[in-house]
C-alpha cells in the first residue's frame, strides 16, 4: 500500500466519522431541557438547595415511571446557582435560555430574584414557574409567569388575623429587610390587615440582609413595649434577631412568614425562637397521605426532612411535567417545537405559547402542598398554616383559609 492510498483511506475514514456524528446530532441529542435556578450558595442557601432537591425528586419519579421521557423526548433538568443575588439570577436565566435552550424555567424562591429573572422569560416566551415567591408583583410581570403558592396580601392577612384573633395582641412592632421586595411587601400587607383588625403598629424598623447586629433597632422597639414583633425576613437574619431580642430582655413572641422556612432556622435561633410563630405552606405533621408519601421518599433520597420550599418545587415540577404531557397528547406536532434543537425558531414560540396556555388552565392539581388551582393572575389559591416553635420543634398550630 502506497503512502497516498493510506492517506486517502485515512481521509475517507475521517469523513465517514464526521458524517456519522453529524447524522446523530439531529435526533439522538434532541431532548426536553428544563431550567432550574436558585440560591445553592449564599445567605439563604437552603432555599435553593431544597428547590433543587424537590425538582430532582420529581424528575426521579418521571424516570422511574416513564423512563424520563415526555412525548418521546428525554427530559433533562439544568440547575443553576444564582448565589442569592438578583443580578446573578438574571444572568443564569439568560444562560439557561440561550445556551441550554430550555423550554421552561422553574425558580426562584426569593421574590427579588424571581422579579429579576421573570422579565427575561416573559420576553423570550418561555414559561417560568416560581414554586415559592409570594410577592404579588412576580406574576404581574407577564402571562408566562406562574407560581405554586399563595401571595403576600393573603399571607400578611394570615399573620395579622392570627396575631389579633388567636394571640389577642394589639400592639406589634415590625422589623423588615429594606432591600428585599418580599420583606417590604409582606410588612406592608401585614400592616394594612392588622390595622383593619383594630391593632396598631407601634414602630417599624429596618435592616439590610447581611447585617450582624440588630440591637439598636431592637432597643428602640423595646422602649415601645410591643406585644409581638413581626419579622418578615429570611431565616438567617431571623435567627440572629431572635437571639439578640432575648439578650436585650424582649420576651414578646416573634412572628414571621414563609421566609423562615429552613432547617437552619432553629440551628441559628436556638432557644430564642421558642414561642414564636410563622406562616407556611405546609406542616410536616399534617396526616395527608400525599404529603406523607412525599416526605418519606424525600427523606429516603436525601436523608433529611423536606421543608415546604422543597415541597413547592416538587409540585412545580409535577405541574410542569403534567402540562408537557398534555401538550404532547393533544398536539404532538406543536409539542416538537419544545425540543432543544428548535430553540429560537418560530415553532418554539408557538409551542411555548401552547404550553403556557395549558399551565394556565391547571385546576385541582393534587399537590403535596395542597390542591393547586391557578387563578386568572396565575397565582395558586391555597390555605396557609401557622407553625409554632416549641422546645426546638416546629409544631402545627392552625390553618387559615383565604
Amino acid at each position: 500500500m502506497s503512502l497516498s492510498t493510506r492517506l486517502r483511506l485515512g481521509l475517507a475514514g475521517v469523513a465517514a466519522l464526521a458524517v456519522l456524528s453529524f447524522g446523530c446530532a439531529g435526533t439522538a441529542t434532541d431532548e426536553l431541557v428544563i431550567g432550574e435556578y436558585g440560591s445553592l450558595t449564599g445567605n439563604d442557601a437552603t432555599f435553593g438547595q431544597s428547590t433543587k432537591q424537590g425538582v430532582e425528586l420529581a424528575l426521579g419519579e418521571l424516570v422511574a415511571q416513564r423512563e424520563g421521557r415526555i412525548g418521546g423526548l428525554k427530559v433533562r433538568v439544568v440547575a443553576e446557582d444564582d448565589q442569592g443575588r438578583p443580578e446573578e439570577a438574571a444572568t443564569v436565566v439568560k444562560k439557561l435560555l440561550n445556551q441550554d435552550r430550555v423550554c421552561a424555567v422553574i425558580g426562584e424562591v426569593a421574590s427579588s430574584r424571581s422579579l429579576a429573572a421573570a422579565p427575561i422569560c416573559q420576553e423570550a416566551g418561555v414559561p417560568m414557574i416560581s414554586p415559592s415567591s409570594t410577592n404579588p408583583r412576580v406574576t404581574q410581570v407577564g402571562d408566562y409567569i406562574f407560581r405554586m403558592c399563595f401571595i403576600d396580601p393573603f399571607q400578611g392577612t394570615v399573620m395579622a388575623r392570627f396575631a389579633a384573633q388567636n394571640l389577642h395582641i394589639q400592639r406589634v412592632a415590625i422589623l423588615k429587610d429594606v432591600k428585599n421586595d418580599y420583606s417590604v411587601g409582606l410588612a406592608q400587607f401585614f400592616t394594612e390587615a392588622f390595622t383593619n383588625l383594630g391593632g396598631s403598629i407601634v414602630t417599624e424598623q429596618a435592616y439590610s440582609a447581611g447585617d450582624q447586629d440588630f440591637r439598636a433597632q431592637l432597643t428602640n422597639m423595646k422602649a415601645r413595649s410591643p406585644e409581638a414583633i413581626f419579622v418578615p425576613g429570611y431565616y438567617t437574619e431571623v435567627g440572629l434577631i431572635a437571639r439578640q431580642a432575648r439578650e436585650l430582655g424582649i420576651k414578646a413572641p416573634i412572628l414571621g412568614g414563609d421566609g423562615w422556612e429552613s432547617e437552619q432556622l432553629l440551628q441559628i435561633g436556638g432557644e430564642a425562637l421558642d414561642g414564636c410563630y410563622y406562616s407556611n405552606h405546609f406542616a410536616t405533621d399534617n396526616p395527608d397521605p400525599r404529603l406523607q408519601e412525599f416526605l418519606k421518599s424525600y427523606k429516603a433520597r436525601f436523608g433529611k426532612e423536606s421543608d415546604a420550599i422543597g415541597g413547592l418545587a416538587y409540585d412545580a415540577a409535577k405541574v410542569l411535567f403534567q402540562s408537557l404531557e398534555k401538550l404532547a397528547e393533544q398536539d404532538p406536532e406543536t409539542f416538537k417545537g419544545l425540543a432543544s434543537s428548535k430553540a429560537g425558531t418560530a415553532a418554539r414560540r408557538t409551542a411555548g405559547k401552547k404550553l403556557r396556555d395549558i399551565i394556565a388552565t391547571t385546576t385541582n392539581f393534587a399537590g403535596v402542598t395542597g390542591t393547586i388551582t391557578l387563578d386568572e393572575n396565575r397565582n395558586a389559591t391555597k390555605p396557609a398554616v401557622v407553625l409554632a416553635i416549641k422546645d426546638g420543634k416546629k409544631v402545627y398550630d392552625t390553618t387559615i383559609h383565604p
Binding site: A216, A223, I268
Partner: protein, 336 residues
Amino acid sequence: MSEFLQQLVNGVTWGSVYALIALGYTMVYGILRLINFAHGDIYMLGAFFGFYAPGLIVVAGARAGEWLEGVHRALHGVPVLGPGVGRLAAALSAAGSMPNALEAVLVLVIAMVGCGLVGIIIERGAYKPVRGSSRLAALITAIGVSLLLENGGVLVFGPDPKFFPQIIPSSNIALGGGVTISNQQVIILVVSVLLMFALRFIVTRTRVGKAMQAVSHSHMAASLMGISVDRIITFTFVLGSMLAAAAGVLVALQNPKIEPYMGVMPGLKAFVAAVLGGIGNIPGAVLGGLVMGVAEVLVVGYVSPTYRDAIAFVLLIVILLVRPAGILGKAQAEKV
C-alpha cells in the same frame, strides 16, 4: 433615658470589636506606613479557625489521651507519676466534654495562634518582597492578599454561611434602669480591654516593644542600633493578626453567622476607626473604634438603619476635612 443608655451599651460593645481590629491596622501603619487591607480578612480567618477549633481539640485531645494512656501503662507501678499521668490521659480523652469556659479560651488561643502564623506567611510571602518598592506597590499587594483570602475562603470553607457553636450560652445581666447587657457582651468587653492592656504592656514595657517604637521612628536608625527590623516587622504582623483573630472569635461567639466575606465591612470600618483616632496611634485606634461603634448604633437607633454603613464614611470625610491627623494624632509636616 434607659433606651439611650442601652444604645450606648450596645455601641460600646460593638465598638470594642472595631477597636480590636483597628489596633492591627494602626500598628502595621505605624511601623511600615502600609495600610494592610487584608486585615479584615484575617478577622474572618480568626472566626473560621475558631469554628473548626473545637473539632480539632476533641481529636487532638483523644490522640494525646491515647498516647498518655500508653505511657501510663508503661509507668505501671511507679508511685505518684503513674496515677498522675493516668488522670491526665483520662482528662484529655474526654476533651469533648470539658467545661465551656476552658473550651472558649482554647478556641480563642487556637484562632489567635493560627492567625499569627498566617500573619507571618503573608508578611514574609507578600509584603517583604515589595518592601523596597513604592508604597503604592505595597498597597496594591495588600488589596491582592485581601482578595486572595476572601476567595480562597470561599474555596476552602465554602460560600454558605456557617454557624458558630454556642460555646457559652447567652444570658442577661440587668444593669438597672431597664438596661441589660448579655454575658457575651461582657466577655467581648473584658477580653478586648485585657488584650488592649496586654498590647500596651508589650509596646511600652518590653524590649521588643521598645524596638517596635524605634522601628516606627526610623528603620535606618533602628537597624544602626542593632535592631533586626525584619524581625520586628514580622512580630508586628503577628500581634496585629492575633488581635484580629480574637475579634473574629469574640464576634462569632455573639453573632454566630460566619462567612468568607464577613471581614470586608468590619475591616473597612475598623480602618476608618484607625484613621479617626489618628492612624499609627494605639490609644487613638481604641478611641476611634469606640466612637465608630457608638456612632453606628446611634444612627441606626435614632436616624435610619440604612445609614449604618454610610456613617462610617461620613465620619471619615469629616475627620479628614477637620483634623486630618485624627483625634489623637499629631500633625506632621510633610516634607516635599
